[in-house]
Symmetry: C2
Subunit: 342 residues, 2 copies
DNA sequence: GATATTTGTTTAATCGTTTAAACACATGCG
DNA sequence: CGCATGTGTTTAAACGATTAAACAAATATC
């Protein structure tokens, strides 16, 4: 690699000290510096194509203008969309984003966070994994600014931005009921992640609110580790084999929905005639299906922008905690029965 | 933020110089250091939870163990999948990845590359945008290690890893012909990007090889800037309105294929009876379609791993150029007619 | 016993910035 | 004139690590 141009090179060429060069290029002490000298320094910097070495700058300032983004898997469209917005937002404010995938694995997450800390990131945006509390507590103890996104831990006082999972599930379930469905299935993951338990709670409360007795057999919780496609198939079979089969299913994630729809489709079940469907998260795969899925839309832009803003504010000054539930719209398409007025 | 533990803190606590601490923690001069002292230093480092400040280390070593990843858009599943593999590969070798999206925009790309250079990245993996040659030349001139991925510029001598677009298009077109198709459409972008022009060339050569006269009206090149969905619709309409309509279409990208399939589906055209389809890149959306698309699979893992390996080798020593075309398998599904033996 | 070698550790410079403090010189003021 | 103030620039320390070179003490060699 070619040798890079440093402040010293400019200073030597102009015949001044590096201090003066630094002052000029950072527009400090503007009142005190002779105009001709300032102009000459600026011209020389341009001529030599000087670029400041952020590493040296960071060391001195104890600030890197860098944020760490930790998600489960950057190749998941949901996370990569978040990443995109976060990066745009950060870029505008002259921050740079370093990312890593933690694979829903607390240990990898811990290592990753430490790696990024070694790199002296100024703060984090984290979509924490299950069992990830200890990582979060570690950051809290060390007073490192961070914002949780998409998920959070109800027992820990942190900044977070998520969608209102409870309300979204509640609304979706009510929407089923409004369309005449009365036996409503839920396929979700077997996990302690708060956002998923909120989805379940919303679903249950909606049923209760309409005095529908909940049948335990309506709810299937899939093991993460399992073969998801197979697990979804079995769950659907069990929902449909009941003495009184379900007439609708709420999918708690787009992965579940994708496999679910694929299987339901292969069985030739009529949507929404025989079975109504709603899913969390967009699944545009279903655009090609004869009945595109009604879905709960993730407010990705809003979440990502807000999280970035909160983080940057926290980096630059001590702030109150921000905990923001964002409402998610239900996008009605053709996989649900039209609502009848009651 | 809590004050971080430095080498000096360890040195003070143990009662030795920072130099010795550094030697011990980096396992240097192992023969010369008293075992008890070394043990005490290590124990103290652990006790104080010391982590090395990579910024300081980078400044001294003039090496950051960081690579810059520049793609058009990290939220595009193709790029985020690449990112994931690159990150995994880099992480294993103790490198960290900083990324940015350049939006197929040469100026943003230029700025981004400079921002990352300011951050002293050791090298780049770049999926260059159209008109991006000047950025690449800039890197070449400054002897900065980099590898192009997915796309390259035939006129510039660089490292690159892409799929063999020519051969893939050639094979796909031949496959159409093998299935009895004789009027084969192509919908691609109007661009100078070499990988897309190679796709077109492969398509044309395959037709020539079978003595099929190419009808210019079979090939549609869409403007990037346009409303892609609308443009695809129009292209398809024009292909089907011909006096002798096409009997098959090759889509040059998954975005085009997605909108194309959506439109074809809405028109009730029978696949593959009335029209056979093949697309570049996977489009798993079509799994829910009655005729999942036959597609040219991007060898994402192989490309990303190879690119990362090449880059890291180039960072660590002067190397010969590597230019690698990777063959892409044609994954045959139900959108094409079975090949008849000839 | 004088000198060379080995062992164990420290000193000090360095990476490229930033910035408080010092400095030199000019000008203002009573 | 003597002192304060203002202007323009430099000095030098600091950020936290790495590492060549210096050093001191112990041991080996003849």
């Amino acid at each position: 690699m070619k040798k890079k141009v440093s402040l010293k090179d400019i200073a030597n060429k102009v015949g001044v000290s590096t201090a003066l060069v630094s002052y000029v290029l950072n527009n400090k002490k503007t009142g005190r510096i002779r105009k001709e000298v300032a102009a000459k320094i600026k011209a020389t910097a341009l001529e030599l194509n000087y670029r400041t070495n952020q590493i040296a700058r960071s060391l001195k300032l104890k600030k890197t203008f860098t944020i760490g983004l930790v998600v489960a898997d950057i190749s998941n469209p949901f996370f990569s969309s978040l990443a995109r917005i976060i990066e745009d937002e950060a870029y505008e404010k002259n921050y740079t984003v370093i990312f890593g995938s933690a694979d829903e694995n607390a240990e990898k997450s811990y290592k990753l966070i430490n790696t990024l800390l070694d790199r002296q990131v100024d703060g984090f945006i984290i979509a924490p994994s299950e069992e990830g509390e200890s990582n979060i507590k570690y950051l809290l103890e060390h007073d490192i600014p961070f914002v949780l996104i998409d998920r959070y831990f109800p027992g820990i006082e942190t900044n977070w931005v998520t969608l209102d999972n409870y309300k979204a599930a509640y609304d979706a379930t009510k929407y089923f009921i409004g369309g005449g469905n009365t036996r409503i299935g839920l396929i979700t993951y077997d996990t302690t992640l708060f956002n998923l338990s909120e989805r379940k709670r919303g679903y249950e409360d909606a049923l209760k609110s309409k005095n529908i007795a909940i049948d335990k057999l309506w709810c299937h919780e899939l093991l993460y580790s399992a073969n998801i496609e197979q697990a979804v198939k079995e769950a659907i079979d069990e929902l449909l084999i009941l003495p009184r089969p379900v007439d609708s299913i709420l999918f708690a994630s787009n992965t579940i929905a994708f496999f679910g729809l694929k299987y339901i489709h292969s069985k030739g079940i009529q949507i929404p005639g025989e079975l109504s469907l709603i899913t969390f998260d967009e699944i545009n795969a279903s655009d090609l299906f004869y009945a595109p899925l009604t879905y709960i839309k993730q407010p990705i832009n809003e979440m990502a922008q807000l999280a970035t803003q909160i983080l940057l504010e926290n980096i630059n000054e001590e702030k109150e905690l921000v905990q923001k539930l964002i409402e998610a719209p239900l996008i009605v398409r053709q996989s649900t029965l039209p609502t009848h007025t009651q």
